[in-house]
Symmetry: C2
Subunit: 254 residues, 2 copies
Amino acid sequence: VELLTLARDLKRRKARERRTLFVVEGVRGVAELLRSALVVRGALVTPALREPPRGASLLTALEARGVPVEEVTERDLASAADTEHPQGILAIAEVPLHTLASLGDRLGATVRLLVLDAIQDPGNAGTLVRTGAALGAAAVIALPGTADLWNAKAVRAAAGAHFRLPALHSTAAELLAFLRLHDVALWGTAADGTPVDALVPPKRMALAVGNEGAGLGPGLREAVEQVVALPMAAGVESLNVAVAAGIALWALRP
Amino acid sequence: VELLTLARDLKRRKARERRTLFVVEGVRGVAELLRSALVVRGALVTPALREPPRGASLLTALEARGVPVEEVTERDLASAADTEHPQGILAIAEVPLHTLASLGDRLGATVRLLVLDAIQDPGNAGTLVRTGAALGAAAVIALPGTADLWNAKAVRAAAGAHFRLPALHSTAAELLAFLRLHDVALWGTAADGTPVDALVPPKRMALAVGNEGAGLGPGLREAVEQVVALPMAAGVESLNVAVAAGIALWALRP
């Protein structure tokens, strides 16, 4: 398939899942992709990319890795891009193959996992992948109802975190079986939980965060061993879910 | 001025500043605005808003507060809206008049302020206002280079925090004079700072966060008494600025 056609197709989640490919947009994102070990299938660039020094050095890096590059118009790039400002470049890469089984083999004595329960906004989902990576989570696991972690907006918000840490989708049943098998406790955040200050976290812990409006889904809520709350100023409903996850992972760090 | 014309004009920062008005888009945002003490000048609604129960109850609330309502087409609403999904409603309200002088009068013995140094993205700026409010900051102060805090995207990301806590713009010189006058220490976050765990925060503290790429600007960096770093997992460049601010305010809470 021609790269432009392929990139356009990959705007659809179904196409990304079937092809196990995803798109990275923008200069910084593609630069980070090229520094990773991921397989890059090709890149679309516009003539304008050659001008800034950063763009030119990116082209050199693409060439050095033997990545097929196709020059397209600004208009064509916009038709294939999902974010507002692809900055003259978009790359197509293979989704790294991570499963709960492959993750199980690499868990250490101390474990943090971040679980996303129905996080619908791709920007929030991506920022959560970034937050999990920064705070030492071994993986970020998205449950049904969550935006596709390989959506271009999510990839952009994660600022390269997808390239370093396993980010994968799973059902709740599979996740719960996995956590039991590997003796990982499931905790979750909710406004009516125990204040985080009062808690001593277990060595092996998965932290679940839910939709800002709805909180944790009923299935997951029942499975959570400990509900954690972040005390907040009076009159304030909630934190952004990625900010809340960051504070909770920090407060519950091993 | 007709409400539709006014709303369109308010998409420009200059118009918002001159008129000291701003726009709130979406059902949830307008509902929160109506629960606040802010003066609401008017609302634009589409016929579709009347259908969902939430929309209908919002119309009742607008009526109860005596807010002028103008019905417009979806197309007209889109022309006045700044966010992608205004959900059939947009309201125009007065920017509450907060200044550093008025803020000085209400500072307690323990103070937290959040300072935004050149946070260009309106979504990040708004999420920072929300984060500051949730973590007990007395105000959020935006320095030059920061997106307008009254931009519709920023207001939306703040989820109503603008209606509860003073959010204002200031120059660095004015802010530094204010902090000296009120004996508030200026701390700031940067990757090369002292790990936050090793620090005991002062009772009266302003925390400055900078642009993710560039960090704190040179002027502010020199004025900062203590640079604070959040230890992060290897290979991870940085956290989203709102997540970083949330963790730092949490870790340095009084």
